[in-house]
Symmetry: C2
Subunit: 150 residues, 2 copies
DNA sequence: TATCATTCCTACTATTCAAGTAGGAATAAT
DNA sequence: ATTATTCCTACTTGAATAGTAGGAATGATA
């Protein structure tokens, strides 16, 4: 799969919401995540339509996650922003067996991205901030990390 | 990684060479693999420069594999045609931990594609042609398949 | 009720990248 | 010489991504 700027931005925005404990303005997200202001609006809208986030208009409005960070997988976000990848063009019969391989690649990738949640990413980041407390330190990102929003 | 038409074509061409037992014209490859004629030239040239195939000019010329099909992994071909994927743009600090994940994705993918050789693909194709001879049939593509060129 | 800050929506422009083409030079067989 | 092929650079085109524009709808506050 392609990792577009849009996807990168969307994940950044989702992470920003995951660590906040109250609604966040698009403006703030745009600034802290370094996303072009108008583009940020655009992406947040898409995420809301997909049901990943909720929103409130007017002053004192903003965005927040629809579910706790531990229940949102990276794949959930990516599927939205990358949309349905257009089927790759027909194969010459001779190259047909390659299709099976592309399928394997995709499932492999999907498996990984479906297992990692926003909470995992945040936990991993926090672990990297206080560098190596123990010697044989954090390898795996545990899937049971953050549940609440703070 | 992206599976471009170019990559698809290149793999088709390599497979065509893998099953041939003497030099093959670009023309023939283009026809049998359904590759636009001129584009085919273009791709073959790139493959030759990368050292994956050899060539001979003039009438009675053509292309052939530089190594036996069992020693050419799909990754070898793909790395050539996809080129050095341009580094994805800088992350906002907040989204930095994602970089690690992209890396994991890439290695996972590279591992799979490095294990499968042209010979494996051909063997798999042949196995699919005579449909299910035994009941619990071929799951894995053995890596020790064809060695010679026929 | 007026005002203001925000989200929401459609549609547009610009930039980049992949796909494919063009024209011919170099080489080798006959 | 002629002809069939590979070889090489550069160009054109099409599609997709990235980002922008303009304003309508909503909701808080006074
Ligand atoms: S990155 Fe998605 S299949 Fe390779
Ligand atoms: S297809 Fe290569 S990393 Fe996703």
């Amino acid at each position: 799969m392609r990792i577009s700027a849009r996807t990168q931005y969307a994940l950044g925005a989702m992470l920003a919401l995951a660590v906040a404990d109250s609604p966040v303005h698009a403006e703030k997200i745009a600034v802290t995540q370094d996303i072009p202001r108008r583009f940020c609006d655009n992406i947040l809208l898409q995420l809301r339509r997909a049901g990943l986030i909720r929103s409130q208009r007017g002053p004192d409005g903003g965005y927040w996650l629809a579910r706790p960070p531990g229940e949102i997988a990276l794949a959930d976000v990516i599927r939205v922003t990358e949309g349905a990848e257009q089927a790759l063009r027909p194969f010459s019969p001779a190259a047909a067996p390659l299709a099976e391989i592309w399928d394997r690649l995709r499932s492999q990738e999907d498996a990984l991205l479906s297992e990692i949640t926003l909470a995992d990413v945040i936990a991993s980041r926090d672990r990297h901030q206080d560098r190596d407390r123990s010697s044989g330190n954090g390898q795996d990102v545990p899937s049971d990390a953050g549940r609440g929003m703070s």
